[in-house]
Amino acid sequence: GQSPPEKPTIIKCRSPEKETFTCWWKPGSDGGHPTNYTLLYSKEGEEQVYECPDYRTEGPNSCYFDKKHTSFWTIYNITVKATNEMGSNVSDPHYVDVTYIVQPDPPVNVTLELKKPVNRKPYLFLTWSPPPLADVRSGWLTLEYELRLKPEEGEEWETIFVGQQTQYKMFSLNPGRKYIVQIHCKPDHHGSWSEWSSEKYIQIPTDFRV
């Protein structure tokens, strides 16, 4: 059919390290014509409307806001306009405060080590590091971690919240079993959990009397 493009929908905005952020949209039908998309935004308390600073870095149908264009504790009012020869259509406004869309990358360098201290209970010692992009050193971003583990053939994960630590001593493990361990992280207040880190395996020896 020959018509203006359908209005697009802004589907997600995410900041991986609380310094930059990206928004993605889903185009509607293009009305049978080549259609182009313009992302426009204004910031809380300002009349000025700006255009997306970078349509390319994060791939098609996306807009990347680098550090210079990213402010916290202020609400962005974002819309995407689809335009073709027959006319244009604008998405519903999407309100974003970058403080609340931080989803970090998974933790890295996960290590598992069996420890058998003299005349004390043996345990599994886990350590990990924050995702490289996240600047936790300066205190700008504070991450919390949660680990999960289950016997290899088991069904149910056991999940343990460990706060801001990057290490954990695991005592209650069944000797002779093989376990899978994963860790994920989240900013200390707002934002969402990262994906789980890749699976790590550890075989608990049969004499690992707990």
Binding site: E44, S71, W73, P93, Y95, S138, G139, H189
Partner: protein
């Protein structure tokens, strides 16, 4: 020789100890502020489109605070501490009224009432701690100049329910925002001043 509490030298709290307590408190205050905002929004905000109206209505927006990591790292720590103090002081008065006015909201659940009282109390406690920290860190006299007056009491007492509920929504929205700023800045300052930016 009298034994000082563990960790303290010549029986005085170290700056690091003061910052640890301030950060734990600011974290807790923001946790409460987020909860009270969500609870209020869930109970009174649905379908009223408050989010679009709550734009730049915070009484503290006159205090120019850092809006990203670079600005927060470039500002001198004494100025950032002064700003934190200013924002905290600016909330003394509204929190006092929030705690009393919230009790007049129709069927306000106890959890909202209790949190309003707790936030007011803990905010005062954090202010006491920040004045002590600033006293230790500040070379000059701690001025009372950084402060932003709140004139929102009438709006919390408006007859029209929708307007009155929006006034509460906006105050809680600003409280959530400002308490998060304070928490973030204190974590930054603690890493900078106590851990040499190597937390």
């Amino acid at each position: 020789l009298p034994i000082c509490p563990s960790g303290s030298v010549n029986c005085q709290l170290s700056l690091g100890e003061l910052f640890d307590r301030a950060v734990k408190l600011s974290h807790y205050i923001h946790f409460l502020s987020s909860e009270i905002f969500s609870e209020f929004d869930e109970r009174y905000g649905q379908g009223r489109g408050f989010v679009t109206k709550a734009v730049n209505g915070c009484h503290t927006s006159s205090l120019t605070t850092p809006e990203d990591k670079e600005q927060a790292q470039q500002i001198h720590h004494e100025d950032l501490l002064g700003l934190v103090l200013g924002v905290l002081r600016s909330w003394n008065d509204p929190l006092l009224h929030l705690a009393s006015e919230v009790q007049r909201i129709k069927e306000a659940p106890d959890t909202i009432l209790w949190k309003a009282i707790e936030i007011e109390e803990q905010n005062r406690r954090l202010l006491e701690g920040m004045e002590k920290i600033v006293g230790r860190v500040h070379s000059g006299e701690i001025g009372n100049e950084v402060y932003s007056q709140w004139e929102g009491l009438q709006s919390l007492q408006l007859a029209d329910e929708d307007s009155r509920l929006f006034a509460f929504y906006n105050l809680l929205h600003c409280l959530r925002r400002d308490s998060h700023k304070i928490d973030n800045y204190l974590k930054l300052l603690k890493c900078r001043l106590i851990h040499d930016s190597n937390c």
